[in-house]
Amino acid sequence: MSHPANATEFLKDQAKAKWHDETLWFVRDKRDRISKTIPEWETLRELASQIKDHVLANLGSYLEDFERNALKNGIHIHWATDAEEHNQHVLRILQEKNCKAIVKSKSILTEECHLNPYLEKHGIEVVDTDLGERIVQFLNQPPSHIVLPAIHLKKGEISDLFHEKLQTEKGNHDPTYLTQAARIHLREKFLGAKVAITGVNFGIAETGEFVVCTNEGNADMGVHLADVHIACMGIEKILPRRKDLGVFLRLLARSATGQPITNYNSHFRSPARGKEIHIILVDNGRTAQLAREKFKNSLKCIRCGACMNTCPIYRRSGGFSYGSTVPGPIGSILSPGLDMKKHSTLPFASTLCGSCSDVCPVKINIHEQLYEWRQEITKTHGEFGKGLSMKLASGIFKSPLAYKISGSLMRSALKTLPDSLIYHPLNTWGKSRNLPETPKETFQQWYQKNRS
């Protein structure tokens, strides 16, 4: 389904759409307020942007540094060209350890690689331990937001779900009660898992360590109880030095949720005695994106989700409307690089308002890249490209925009045609909007009459 069709569907439940918009606006507003308490906020953004640009320009050598230092620390390193190879690495490690049940903290990369269904197909139970992720996992849904995976659900829906899955009291919507039930449920899973999987927020080239940020402490809980820790990391997650974290951790928490700091910023450097750490470094289209001059800096993204919270489209159409692992503005510039045909409507799901670029903590020019993807998509004559040019020809040229071009002909037609013809069903502009009144003369005519 295309984004417009999904958005139309989402907007049918007007009350819920309004609630969704206001909920995410609340998060954005919180981010606005806390970012303004940091006088050097814009300097931090600039620094972060420059550090990431530098990393992308020297990615190969930083990855080699990272690998060398991690190996020195006793960490196992695996490289994966694509999702399939990533999943195979994970499965092989699990099979070696004879492990049938794992816990996993939030990792958008494993969503991108569709790791859960792959492991389940091979008889392994996967439990997502982030509360929001566990909720959507119960529903067999993907996350609708990269930081707030279950933001599309209301308390009542979660209460009903927990009643069914965790036998909580029917009708008890109390968040503390429901969270407590989830904790008890997850505690069992933590205790039973020999292997824990986490994502990686930052990999430090100079030390070979990596940092995982969670608010719930679920990554730490899983890792500390398990014998083996598998960390799945996109190759763009590298930072040169540990001290660079001083820039990124400040930006990440404030941009993501408006908090001064994420609750747990855990550094993993070497395995405890008798335990193992594995890092899987994944490309999966990243080097292809790096080779695209106009789009490469989309790889600077630190997955804070601020562009989703600020996007007037995302807030009113929901994460699922994008049909891509990473939704929202950043997803709309990353996804076409993975499958342009499948994601061809996403760069058009924007008014190019530019709020995403202004909110981005690493200064990705998101809205400009949306514009550039449009230029690429129409070139390939994919389905949407054709559809759009058809629309331009048949729809827009009959709507107010078209009067720009068709001028006086349209103006005189508008004056003489009855409303029933002007507002016919093919005129999308006129479905819920009136056309402006047609003036008796154009500015050009006025000027010639009065000033020439």
């Binding site: 331009l392 925009l401 001028g407 999308t428 006025w446 000027y447």
Partner: protein, 252 residues
């Protein structure tokens, strides 16, 4: 205030020409009242923005060449539209053979309010407009041309249109819930994502209504056309005026 003896060429975007000639007239008269020598080069067409934003920038070469040839000879080019000015400056394709003229043009084309505050260096206008006015910041003017501070950025607040409007006698400036949220016009977006476009427009109107806006103004008639179209359809009683119309009326 500076009084330039230089000539200002009016760039009247095509939809303003066709649907809002009064906005063109107000812009012309306002600039003249501020001491400018203004002319309107004939033969103006569309700058190409709708095509470019729809992904067909490459098809706007002809329109861009025409635009450069038409406006290159003037000291300044001024338009009552942030969106069209942004397109000319940032999204029109480079025209082979006219690179120098094109670069020069990008340095002398201005949106109306920025021309008045930055080039004419008008700090405040004396006039009267006893109405409660809500300002719609069009995104291309706001975040594209930086005509006002952006709520996302940590910067000293400013707004070039507000600077000109707020000192008018009797003008009551509306503080909105969301100062710079998009109205959902977005060019072809208004048609290709119709449901979202309408929802966004309705939400903007609700914000104005909740704050008792009497007149919604802005620097781009495209956003205003969209908002007015929804308001009219739904029987909302707000009035809509371009900033140029308010200023021209107020200082006469």
């Amino acid at each position: 205030m500076k009084s330039p003896s230089l000539t200002v060429a009016l760039f009247i975007p095509c939809y303003v020409d066709q649907f809002y000639p009064n906005v063109g007239v107000a812009t012309l008269e306002l600039l003249e009242k501020l001491g400018c020598k203004v002319c309107y080069p004939s033969g103006q067409t569309c700058c190409g923005q709708p095509l470019a934003n729809a992904g067909y920038e490459r098809d706007t070469m002809g329109a861009t060449r025409h635009f450069i040839q038409l406006f290159s000879g003037y000291d300044y080019v001024v338009a009552p539209s942030g969106s069209c000015v942004l397109h000319v400056k940032e999204h029109s394709p480079t025209v082979p053979g006219l690179e120098k003229e094109q670069a020069a043009l990008h340095g002398k084309i201005f949106e109306l309010t920025e021309f008045i505050t930055d080039i004419l260096q008008v700090d405040q206008l004396v006039g009267k407009f006893p109405h409660r006015v809500g300002y719609h910041a069009s995104c291309h003017g706001q975040r594209g041309l930086r005509l006002a501070s952006s709520s996302e950025l940590n910067q000293t607040p400013f707004n070039k249109a507000r600077k000109l409007l707020e000192n008018l006698e009797g003008l009551d400036w509306v503080e909105l819930g969301r100062t710079d949220e998009c109205c959902g016009f977005g060019g072809t977006f208004a048609v290709t994502e119709e449901a979202l476009s309408i929802r966004m427009g309705k939400d903007r109107l609700e914000d104005h209504q909740a704050h008792q806006t009497e007149i919604i103004t802005g620097g781009d008639m495209s956003c205003i056309m969209h908002l007015e179209g929804i308001a009219t359809r739904n029987g909302q009683k707000m009035k809509f005026m371009h900033v140029a119309e308010i200023l021209n009326q107020a200082i006469s």
